[in-house]
């Protein structure tokens, strides 16, 4: 599986992180390869979100380092780093006072793209995430939850970042909408081949979306496996997860986009 020659796009090297006195991540080592969707799976408090925020430096590690495209992310300008990484969160965090168009076009605009290029990009992205161009002039509160999350994804993709960080992006959606967005995400990823780190506590989602699944517990990495391997894992925690989610997981692991 591991392309030996290619260096990982994101690499955690012996990372520990203490937040407000508690150790939320310890001795964490992980490599994310170019173009894969690595899912961080685990229950709340297991350190998934912390790991994600360490990548774009919303948090700084207590020890160890995180390398992004071969360079420690502690070096260089944090603003540059963040603009080169797309970020999607569960609460979406759309700017309520901006229209959809302004939300999506924000980073390209502050990066100084010419206005017509920004507009063209916004409409391209709206189409890409399956939204009608009519929505461009709406405000976020006029959209449904699913539409908002699509705008969130479009916004993260706006400046065409190589890396995408997604923190339970579909967690707050109803099952039908979630299913739809997962399917569209897979289709999108087939075209774009972004390097994605995707946080979820939903095993079914992890199996469907992930090219590899990293299981976390209490701030440690338990195991990393491809979806099919994961189902047969002998690791006690992994198999406990599989049991808890019950039947029908095989079909999820077949990664159906249908």
């Amino acid at each position: 599986m591991q392309p030996a020659a290619a260096s990982p796009v994101i690499e955690f090297r012996d990372v520990s992180c203490r937040v407000a006195g508690t150790l939320v991540l310890s001795g964490f080592n992980l490599q994310v390869q170019s173009g894969e969707t690595l899912v961080l799976l685990g229950r709340s408090g297991s350190g998934k979100t912390t790991s994600l925020k360490l990548v774009n430096r919303l948090l700084t590690p207590t020890s160890g380092e995180i390398r992004v495209k071969g360079v420690s992310n502690a070096e260089g300008d944090v603003i540059r780093l963040r603009r080169s990484i797309g970020y999607v969160i569960q609460d979406v965090g759309l700017f309520p006072h901006f229209t959809v168009e302004k939300n999506i076009g924000l980073v390209p605009r502050i990066e100084g793209w010419p206005e017509e290029r920004v507009r063209a990009r916004v409409f391209e992205l709206l189409q890409m995430v399956g939204l009608s161009p009519d929505l461009a002039s709406r405000k976020p509160h006029e959209l449904s939850g699913g539409q908002r999350q699509r705008v969130g994804v479009a916004r993260a993709l706006a400046a065409d970042p190589e890396i995408l960080l997604m923190d339970e992006p579909f967690g707050a959606l109803d099952p039908l909408t979630r299913d739809e967005l997962q399917r569209e995400f897979l289709l999108l990823q087939q075209r774009l081949h972004k390097t994605v780190v995707f946080v979820t506590h939903d095993l079914r989602e992890a199996l469907r979306i992930g090219s590899r699944i990293a299981l976390m517990e209490a701030g440690r990495l338990v195991t990393v496996a491809e979806p099919r391997e994961f189902l047969r894992s002998t690791d006690p925690l992994a198999s406990a997860y599989v049991r808890a989610f019950g039947d029908g997981l095989e079909s999820a692991a077949n990664r159906g986009t249908s």
């Binding site: 925020k53 963040r82 969160i89 965090g93 309520p96 924000l106 960080l165």
Partner: protein
């Protein structure tokens, strides 16, 4: 209706004192915003300082206005002119609502929105001017509105130290035991307060983010 006859007969002075009054209130509100809004932003971002700053503003608010005017009288440059003194005192009183509402407004911005903005690579100043302030503006303005309305009333007392304004009619009327003269100061002051309340309220609604 003799009040209105009195006001008409003295309309020149009514107008002059009203303008003086407006100047006291306007300048002090301006200074209070220039100090209070940045201070409110600062304590919203550094919660350690929020208690001492708000407590100080609170204490100022509890000093009786006449006493505050009196305390400031011996201050060198300020004490030379009563209007300077009055503007300082009114500024100090206006600080609390402005600082507190700025603080509340900024703290009230959805943390997810701020985090998303920061994660997307907005600088701290882009975050402040494009996200936090636009979303907090109506809360901040409602603090300004309270401050201005209070100032209009308080500024009448400034006449006691000779700073002018509509308080002159009120104090003169008290001395003369003449209701007409008191009302010639009180009615325009009340109208000013209403207009200010309505004006800033209108601005507040216009600038509401959604």
């Amino acid at each position: 209706m003799s009040v209105f006859r009195f006001m008409w007969q003295n309309h020149g002075q009514v107008l002059e004192l009203t303008l003086e009054h407006l100047r006291l209130v306007g300048l002090s509100a301006l200074f209070a915003m220039l100090i209070g809004i940045p201070l409110g932003i600062a304590i919203a971002h550094r919660p350690r300082f929020n208690k001492p700053v708000l407590a100080s503003a609170n204490i100022i608010q509890t000093i009786p206005s006449l006493a505050l005017f009196g305390f400031l009288l011996p201050v060198p440059w300020l004490g030379e002119r009563a209007d300077r003194l009055a503007i300082l005192a009114l500024t100090l009183y206006a600080l609390l609502p402005i600082i507190r509402n700025t603080y509340t407004g900024i703290r009230g911005v959805d943390p997810a929105v701020v985090e998303a903005g920061r994660g997307m690579g907005l600088t701290e100043s882009q975050l402040l001017f494009q996200v936090e302030l636009p979303l907090a503006v109506s809360v901040i303005l409602s603090g300004v509105r309270v401050a201005v309305v209070i100032s209009v009333g308080l500024a009448t007392i400034a006449a006691a130290i000779g700073a002018g304004g509509l308080g002159e009619f009120i104090f003169r009327g008290l001395a003369m035991v003449d209701d007409r003269v008191i009302l010639a100061g009180a009615i325009p002051a009340a109208l000013l307060a209403l207009v200010a309340d309505f004006g800033v309220g209108w601005l507040e609604r216009r600038l509401q983010p959604r």
